[in-house]
């Protein structure tokens, strides 16, 4: 009986931890650092390999004070940027966060961040899954 309970608990743990593994994978993740404490921008491509659409709902890193999802747009020759609460990654599709479109806005970078380095960032999705991603740090010109 005790064995059965152990097996049940183990199974539950396996199921729970697999639910936390994202169906989304990341590629080409990089951050454009600006001088001083200016906010940085983060870019990457997200592939949803799962059968269901998910929303990117939160982004966290211990190396930044706060991270938000933003969308740049251009209308009638005017460039503007606004915060968005989530970004849908449709099932079987790739969504690119790239210059001039969706991007991460990373506030208050840690003092020791330098181009050439990497920072760990965690992406959180609407299905409760997490995806840890290492972002490559680049300079203001994206080099």
């Amino acid at each position: 009986m005790a064995y059965l309970r152990l097996i049940a608990v183990t199974l539950l743990l396996v199921i729970c931890s697999s639910a936390a593994v994202a169906d989304v994978t990341a590629r080409h993740a990089w951050i454009r650092l600006l001088p001083g404490s200016l906010p940085a921008a983060g870019y990457l491509e997200l592939d949803n390999n799962g059968a269901d659409s998910v929303q990117l709902v939160a982004v966290q890193s211990t190396r930044f004070g706060a991270i938000e999802l933003h969308l740049s747009s251009e209308q009638n020759g005017i460039a503007s940027m606004r915060r968005v609460n989530s970004l849908e990654i449709p099932a079987g599709k790739t969504v690119a966060l790239k210059p001039g479109g969706y991007h991460l806005m990373l506030f208050r970078p840690a003092d020791d961040l330098k181009p050439g380095g990497q920072v760990p960032v965690t992406l959180k999705f609407s299905d409760g899954s997490h995806l840890p991603v290492n972002f490559l740090l680049r300079d203001a010109s994206g080099q």
């Binding site: 460039a79 210059p99 001039g100 010109s141």
Partner: protein
């Protein structure tokens, strides 16, 4: 013989008419704004707090762009693109200046402008001014800008023109690019401009 010469003249005249009497030998890749926008004129300050005028940049091809330093995406992408476009000119790159005019003087102090321009290399000069100076310059080139509502942390977005105005060495307005024009396209026209 006379008849042939006559005919050639006629053809040449016709060609000039069809080409719309374009002043440039070839058509530009960017928008030609010669005669449509006034010559470059401004009074602003630079990263050392010094007053700068358009005349200070005479002799160089000037690429004028409006933005703000708390702009993590569009502004640095555009500036990097302009640095790349001018970099394709080789040695002639020294004859170009990229003027980044911040329309957010409250946050973009002289020290902030200096730090910012250094991140983009020697061809970029960051400038700003009083609201009156900025209004005069943006009005002159018929562009607008606006400050958004501050969030809880006091941060705010700034909407700004994505236009890049290009002036020749005399300060005359010549071409209009946008933030999305490729470095190759911009570089091609800068080469023409430097040669003319």
């Amino acid at each position: 013989m006379m008849q042939l010469r006559h005919r050639l003249w006629l053809m040449a005249m016709l060609l000039m008419l069809v080409s719309g009497c374009d002043r440039s030998p070839s058509s530009w890749a960017l928008h030609d704004i010669s005669g449509l926008m006034p010559p470059l004129a401004f009074e602003l300050h630079d990263g050392s707090g010094q007053t700068r005028h358009a005349e200070d940049f005479r002799g160089a091809i000037v690429l004028l762009y409006f933005g703000y330093t708390h702009c993590p995406d569009i502004c640095p992408t555009t500036l990097a693109n302009l640095v790349s476009a001018t970099g394709k000119l080789g040695k002639a790159a020294d004859r170009t200046r990229i003027l980044f005019v911040s329309v957010d003087p409250a946050r973009d102090t002289a020290a902030a402008l200096q730090r910012y321009e250094q991140a983009f290399g020697p061809r970029v000069t960051a400038l700003s001014g009083t609201q009156a100076q900025l209004r005069a310059l943006t009005k002159r080139y018929r562009v607008s800008y606006g400050l958004g509502k501050p969030d809880a942390g006091g941060q705010y977005e700034v909407s700004h023109s994505n236009a890049v105005f290009i002036f020749d060495g005399t300060g005359a307005a010549r071409l209009l690019a946008t933030g999305t024009d490729s470095a190759e396209k911009i570089s091609t026209d800068l080469k023409h401009l430097l040669g003319s």
